[in-house]
Symmetry: C2
Subunit: 438 residues, 2 copies
């Protein structure tokens, strides 16, 4: 049997992927290999991918990574539009992309995204089953585990790098929801579909029951599992409740089983979580799942801001990453309202990168603080050209500056003549710049 | 001598302001009076104001408040434009406004803002001195403490409710900057002006030296002091350094002196601060300044995002408020680049309110969580009309939803048919709504 990436790391086989990740992260190759072997770092890369991609490491001690979701829906199923979103998110420097399409020819859309993406691609295979089931009107009771695994293997063969599977949502979790008093019940699409399945078929979650079969497919194609959180809270009042933690316990068990099988696994997390519960959520996940990379959506820190959930999520995401989350799924300004358009995709990636970077500098990642230092030096020098070029979004920064141009080009219109930096310099002794010329 | 608000609270005299604040905050009037007497709560209200304003309480145990800065500059000095910004920020529900004008007829602009504002108004009187000094070319050495106090008293007579004074930036602080190795030195405009003054005149900060004279004016007009942080870090690498903390120690001393004189005082704080230092910054301020209300700008958690500093500040501000900050000054998307336009003002207030609210729910303020609960119920019910009306910005929420209208009005275009809430409900036993009809 061929060795997986994880097993190769364990055996000390230096893959080019390890070197690439080590270089990007400015850490030693040993650290990467130790992390991959232990399962605290994953490198998501399908082994039958039709085109090479950047090797992206996600996990403990690495730079926080960003994912952008795209995909069609019943109301918006234009493949060209999705490829434009892909281009926008790649330009905005997302580290990964998920195709969450539920409208149009799903196989063709996925194929096109895989063919055009230079970064890892993830999917939620259950969506494809759900779409087929709803469109053909197939009763739940007729859908078998085989139907699911057929789709999973097809997607694996196409070259998908990581897959979200809601294998931790069990019959016991469903019982908890039925007994409980959640305000929002289930807000995960995959989770809701499996909730239905378990209820209508009166049997255990097929992904949980057949987890070994899933692991076989993952070994064969080197798929990284992203263990989905079907029970993620969709309201701040539902955060950190029994169903959420019950599912997390099962996810911890599945992380162990994936590691034993040499399969890389991440764990997905909340959701809507108030600020005071974020640290706890990050720490309980890392503890229960033995350091598995944590892939989070949000957390959205208040429910009251539709239209601004890129911001409620940046507030939650930056701090969650500081407290241990490794991979931030972007949330755009259209969340809770609509699919994002191209501009919302672009903006969503940039904002999530800001949150990730804020965590990277706070955690002291060696590759992070120099950017801030360069920007501050450019500010101190009142070097506007360099400030713009160093900005995370030079286009927006120059647009804002140019919209109200200062009469004195050295300063900006906020303070004008009364620029604090300029005033302070007038009162400072001459600095070292002259010495340097000697 | 007439008693100040603080002294009346101490003497148990129930002012209408105390009742108004208690009602708004949903806490007892005793709690408000205890806080005002102790100096952990301030109610900023000049006693010669020409028009009544809302009584706004700021401090420990209260809802986190939001301030918006407006004001002209040399490059943009249109009084109508400032009044439009005032209207926009009031509509967006800012709790206070600061007029930071440095261009045009400052007295007339301030008069117009005071006449039109239903919320407290703050200023930084040193700006007016600085403007006069630069425009007339008066040498620093000719400017006396009398010149400053004249402007302060004029502004007090006009009806300004709170004033930022950089009285904590002393000759010792200046020495620290000269000896030190800050990347950005002084980024506060008021701080930079006093830095110049101290350097050129070779004497102590006149606001520090004549602090008792300042307190007399504050007593007379019931001005709330906002003790400015001239040493706030303007780069994340400069955060929590010696000059910043040195100034904070002096501010702590000035808080004591203000309290002894029956004058209300807040303390201003950073600035650019990385995530890992925010909790420490909030706690050291509260400790050194004995629980004085903390009024913060940002904190901006990374330097690399000009054009997105409304977001870097929301990330910092929400958490700073959770850790104890009481009053958040908005930072708009134009920060570091330009003066904000009307839309940036409106957006800035809303985003800062989101940060404040996220902290309020995390701290368990009794008046906060119900909004989120109502929103989540409206989401669960797929009641779109109510979701929009409950949104912090109904205009933006409906604009986004309407831009890509779903074919099924019950759901949204993100999930369409595959709405998790809809799917879960199909699998749930009938809920209690029928029972309620009995």
């Amino acid at each position: 049997m061929n060795k997986t990436i994880m097993e190769k790391a364990h055996a000390g086989i230096e893959l080019p992927e390890f070197t690439e990740v080590a270089k990007y992260e400015r850490v030693s190759i040993d650290k990467i290999m130790e992390g991959v072997a232990a399962g605290t770092i994953v490198i998501t890369k399908n082994n039958v991918r039709p085109r090479p991609i950047r090797s992206v490491g996600i996990g403990s001690g690495l730079l926080v990574k960003v994912n952008a979701n795209i995909g069609t829906s019943q109301d918006s199923a234009d493949i060209k539009n999705e490829l434009q979103k892909l281009e926008a998110l790649v330009q905005a420097k997302s580290d990964a992309v998920m195709d969450l399409s539920t409208g149009g020819d799903l196989t063709a859309i996925r194929k096109a995204i895989i063919a055009n993406s230079p970064i890892p691609i993830g999917t939620v295979p259950i969506y494809e089953i759900a779409v087929k089931q709803r469109l053909t009107g197939t009763p739940m009771i007729k859908l078998s585990a085989n139907d699911i695994f057929k789709v999973i293997e097809e997607q694996a063969k196409q070259g998908v790098d990581f897959m979200t599977v809601h294998a931790g949502l069990t019959a016991r979790t469903v019982e908890m929801i039925l007994r409980g008093s959640r305000t929002m019940n289930v807000v995960s699409r995959g989770g809701a579909f499996l909730f239905q399945w378990i209820r209508f078929n009166e049997c255990e979650n097929p992904l949980y029951e057949n987890f070994d079969r899933l692991l076989e497919i993952c070994r064969k194609y080197e798929i990284t599992l992203s263990l989905g959180d079907g029970m993620r809270p969709g309201a701040v009042v539902d955060a950190t409740d029994q169903p959420q933690i019950e599912e997390l316990l099962t996810l911890g068990e599945l992380v162990d089983r994936a590691r034993e099988a040499g399969v890389q696994a991440m764990v997905e997390g909340p959701g809507h979580v108030p600020i005071d519960q974020i640290e706890t959520n990050m720490k309980i996940q890392k503890q229960i799942c033995k350091g598995a990379p944590f892939y989070i959506l949000g957390p959205v820190v208040t429910d009251i801001a539709p239209g601004y959930d890129h911001i409620t999520s940046a507030i939650g995401g930056a701090w969650a990453a500081y407290f241990g989350a490794d991979f931030l799924c972007y949330v755009t300004r259209t969340e809770h309202l609509s699919l994002p358009n191209i501009e919302a995709v672009r903006e969503g990636v940039i904002i999530t990168r800001i949150a990730a970077h804020a965590a990277d500098i706070a955690k002291g990642h060696p590759g992070a603080i120099n950017w801030d230092l360069q920007m501050s030096k450019a500010r101190f020098d009142l070097n506007w050209e360099r400030q713009i070029s160093l900005a995370i979004d030079p286009k927006r920064a120059s647009f804002i500056r140019d919209a109200l141009p200062p009469s004195d080009e050295e300063v900006c219109t906020m303070c004008g003549e009364f620029c604090a930096l300029k005033m302070t310099k007038e009162a400072l002794p001459k600095k070292t710049s002259e010495k340097q010329e000697i």
